[in-house]
Symmetry: C2
C-alpha cells in the first residue's frame, strides 16, 4: 500500500520521525553543492517550507535538472530530525518526481523580491509568494472567525440579493446589470431605453449594501448577518477603495445604539484575537517584512476599551487641537480623514467610536435623536484605516421614517416593503457594516487594499 | 437593575424556574376567555413559541387591544412550569408593552394558512411564518456547516471575483455589468459600443463560476473553496433555476477523480448530518407539514454509500430499462432528467455518482481519459433533485488543454493566465461545484427553489 500524502504543516508538527512520508508541493529554492542538494518545498498549508535533502549519490545532477524554483514535485522520503538550523525535521529523499516544470528563463517568480505593483499584474501567480500566501491565509481565518462568532452568538446568516431593482440604498453609485442588446436596445415611444424588455422587466443594479433586506430578516429571525459582495461604481483610484468588495452586516432586533457599539467592539476584538491565535506564523512574517508595529497594534486593539464619544464632543476636541488641518472643522460637516486620524492616532491613541452625527450627513434610515438635529449613528475609527465600521440604530417609527425619506428625496414607492416593516410589528433595531477588506488591511498591515483580495476590481481593471 | 432579555429558545430550555424574565418577540396567536388570555410569542430564535399568560385581573381587555397576530411585544414576567400541555414552561405576565402594532385588517399574515405562491409576493414578511423561519434557519446551519467542514479539513476560503472580464467560463448566458449611459453609449468609428469607455475599460459580466480563479488559488494554497453568488441569464422559469444563486466550489491540488468523489460524498453527508443535528425541530416541522418522507430520506443519504458508475455503464442500464422514456438514450448525448431520476429513484434507489462522460458534452477544462473519447467528469445525482454536484479532474497538461480549447472554440488570449497555471509548476487537481440552493431544497424538502432563498431573482422579477 502506498503512503498517504502529508501536508508540509503536518510534517513540520510531527513528532513521529524515522518513517516514510510523501509530500507534494512547489519548489521555493534549491541550493547545495556537488555532494548534496537542499530543496525548500511549500504546499500552501503553511508559510514554512520543508527541506528535502537529495544526496548526489542517489540523485545525480541530471535527475534534478527540472527541480527549479516554481516546479511542482512529488517527494517520497524518510522524515528525519534535521541537522541544519531553522527547522526541526527534514526529508531524506528516496524518490523525486517532477509533476510540473517551471522554466527559469520564463517563470516570473524567481528568488529575488518583487514589488507589490508588479505582483498585481500577475495576480494568477502572486498567491505563490510568501506575502500573498500569508495574506490569503489570514483572510480565510478572518472570514471563518466572522461566521464562527455569529453562529456562536445565535445569529443567522442571510444571503441578501446581489442584483437589486432598487437604487434607493443611497450608499453610492451603482453598476447597471442588463441583458439588453447594447448596440440597439429596445426603446419606448419617446425614444428612451425600454427596461420592460430587460431580463428583470425593469432597470437593475448591483447592490451597494444588504442592510435593508437584512432588516427584513431581523424583524423575523431576531439576530442576523450578511457577508457578501457589494459594489461601488465610483471612479476612485485609491489604496482604500475597490469597485467590488465584501461586506459584513449584522442587524439585531431590539438592539439600541449602546448594544450596537458593544456588539461592534466585541466582534472586532474577537476577530483580531482569532487571527493572532490561528495565524501566528503568517502575522509574524508580515510583521517582520512590512510593518514592525503590526503585532503590537493588534494586541493593543484587543487589550484596550474603544474610546466612545459623540460627534459633537469630537468637534470640540478638534477645534482646540494644536494640529493644523487642511479642512476646517465645523459642526454639521463630515469629518475628513485627517480629523479622524488625529482623534485615533494622536488624541486618544486607541480605536474610537463616534456617535450621534448631524442628521443631514447621514442616511435616511438612521433613528432621529430627541434633539431633532442628530441621529443615532456610529462610526468605528481604527488607526491607519480610518472608518472600519459604520452603523446606527434604525428609525423604527413609520411616520418619522416617512418624513426623513421625504426630506432626503427617497421615493416611497421604491421602498414600500421597507416601510411595511414599520407598519406591522415594528421594533427598535440596530446594525452596522464592516468592510471586510478594510479589516484584512488592518490585520495584515498591508498598505494597499488591492493586495488583500485575490483579484481586485477597480477603474479600468477587471483582469483574470 | 433591569433583567436582561432572554431568547425564546433560552427560556424553553431553561431549568431555572420561578424567576423574573424579559422576552421580546412577535405575537403568533392569541386566545383565551374572560379570565385569562394566552399569547404565543416567537422571536425567531426557534420555531417554537413561548406562552405568555395574562390574567384578566391584571390585564383588563382594553390593555390588550393591540396584542394581535403580528404585533411586537416586550414582556416581563415570571418563568413558571406550564399547566397546559405542549410546553414545559410559560411566562406569567407582569408587564406587557406593545412595541409595534399590526392592524388585523391590514396585516396579511393572519392565522390561516397561505399558499407559497402568495407568500412569494410578500417576501419581506414571509420570514415571519413557521415555514420560512424553518427554511432560513436550516439554510444558515448548512452555510455554517460548509465553512466548518472546509476549515476543519485545511481548506482556505477564497473570494473569487463577481465581475469578470472573461466570457470564457462557458457555463451559461451572462449578465452584462456596465456604467455606460444606456440611451447614448459612446461608440467607436464603426458605430459599435465603445467598451474602452466603460468602467473597467472593457465589456464585463457577472460570473457564472469561480472555478477558474479557484484553480489559481489551489495551485498555491493547495486546498481551497469558494462560496459566493453566481449568475445565469437564461430565461428559465422553472422550480429548479434561479438567475442569482450561491455556489460552493472546492478545488484541491493533487486530487484525482477518485479523491474528488470521496470528498464530494463525505462533504454532502457531513452537511446533511449537521442539519439533522442542529435543526431537528425545524426539519421535524417541514417533515410533518410538507413531506412525510423528508427525515427518512436525509437519514438514508447519510447511512448509505453513493453508487458510483461510469456514464457508459449508466447508458447500458438505461437501454435495457423496462421504463419508457420520452427522450432516447444514446451514448454521446447528455442524460435527461428522466434518465437521472430512473437511475437514482428506481434502479439504485440511492444517490449516484456518474463519471467519465463523453468529452463533447462536457467543458474544455476536464481531463481527457486515455480512451480519447471521455473525460474525468463526475455528476452527483440526488433523489428528487437530480444533479446536485458537477465536477471533474482538470486537464493539467498544457498541450492537451490547448487542443481542447481550440476544439471547443475557447479563445487562448482570454485565458492566458489559466494556461500559465499549466506552464509553471502544473499539478494534477480536481474540484466540483455544489449549487447551494439545490442543497437547501434537498434538505428542507421544499418543492420550489424560489422558496429556499430569501429574495429570489428570476425572469421579470427583482423585487425587494
Amino acid at each position: 500500500m502506498s503512503v498517504r500524502r502529508s501536508s508540509v504543516q503536518q510534517l513540520l508538527q510531527s513528532q513521529e520521525l524515522e518513517r516514510e512520508v510523501v509530500v507534494k508541493g512547489w519548489v521555493r529554492t534549491r541550493r547545495g553543492n556537488k555532494y548534496v542538494q537542499f530543496v525548500a518545498l511549500n504546499d500552501g498549508s503553511t508559510i514554512h517550507t520543508i527541506q528535502v535533502v537529495a544526496d548526489a549519490e542517489k540523485f545525480p545532477e541530471e535527475t534534478l535538472k527540472d527541480v527549479a524554483t516554481g516546479a511542482c514535485l512529488s517527494v517520497r522520503g524518510q522524515l528525519v530530525a534535521s541537522q541544519g538550523k531553522g527547522q526541526a525535521v527534514e526529508i531524506q529523499a528516496i524518490e523525486i518526481e517532477v509533476l510540473g516544470t517551471a522554466d527559469p528563463e520564463e517563470y516570473p517568480l524567481q528568488k529575488k523580491g518583487h514589488s507589490l505593483e508588479f505582483l498585481r499584474e500577475i495576480a494568477h501567480l502572486r498567491p505563490r509568494t510568501n506575502t500573498f500566501g500569508a495574506v490569503l491565509r489570514v483572510r480565510h481565518a478572518l472570514a471563518f472567525a466572522v461566521h464562527q462568532y455569529f453562529n456562536d452568538h445565535g445569529f443567522y446568516y442571510v444571503h441578501t440579493p446581489i442584483i437589486t431593482g432598487s437604487d434607493a440604498e443611497g450608499a453610492g453609485q451603482m453598476f447597471r446589470v442588463t441583458t439588453l442588446p447594447p448596440e440597439h436596445p429596445p426603446r419606448t415611444a419617446d425614444g428612451s431605453v425600454d427596461y420592460k424588455e430587460d431580463f428583470f422587466g425593469k432597470q437593475t443594479n448591483l447592490t451597494v449594501s444588504g442592510q435593508l433586506e437584512a432588516e427584513v430578516a431581523a424583524m423575523a429571525l431576531g439576530k442576523v448577518y450578511t457577508f457578501g459582495p457589494t459594489f461601488r461604481a465610483e471612479n476612485s483610484n485609491t489604496a482604500r477603495h475597490l469597485a467590488e468588495f465584501w461586506m459584513i452586516e449584522p442587524e439585531v432586533a431590539f438592539n439600541d445604539l449602546q448594544d450596537n457599539m458593544d456588539l461592534a467592539e466585541d466582534f472586532l476584538k474577537s476577530l483580531v484575537r482569532q487571527a493572532l491565535e490561528k495565524c501566528a506564523d503568517d502575522l509574524q512574517f508580515l510583521n517582520d517584512q512590512y510593518d514592525k508595529e503590526l503585532l503590537n497594534r493588534l494586541r493593543f486593539v484587543i487589550e484596550n476599551d474603544f474610546q466612545r464619544l459623540t460627534y459633537t464632543e469630537a468637534v470640540e476636541i478638534l477645534k482646540v487641537a494644536k494640529q493644523k488641518f487642511e479642512f476646517p472643522v465645523d459642526w454639521g460637516t463630515d469629518l475628513q480623514s485627517e480629523h479622524e486620524r488625529y482623534l485615533v492616532e494622536k488624541h486618544f491613541r486607541k480605536p474610537v467610536i463616534l456617535t450621534d452625527y448631524p442628521k443631514d450627513i447621514k442616511a435616511f434610515y438612521m433613528k432621529l435623536n430627541d434633539d431633532g438635529r442628530t441621529v443615532r449613528a456610529m462610526d468605528v475609527l481604527f488607526p491607519g484605516i480610518g472608518e472600519i465600521i459604520g452603523g446606527s440604530q434604525r428609525e423604527e417609527n413609520l411616520e418619522k421614517l416617512r418624513t426623513r425619506m421625504e426630506q432626503m428625496h427617497v421615493e416611497e414607492h421604491e421602498l414600500w416593503w421597507y416601510l411595511e416593516l414599520r407598519k406591522f410589528g415594528t421594533a427598535p433595531h440596530a446594525g452596522f457594516g464592516l468592510g471586510f477588506e478594510r479589516l484584512v488591511l488592518f490585520v495584515t498591515g498591508m498598505a494597499n487594499i488591492r493586495d488583500v483580495i485575490p483579484f481586485p476590481r477597480f477603474p479600468k481593471n477587471a483582469d483574470f
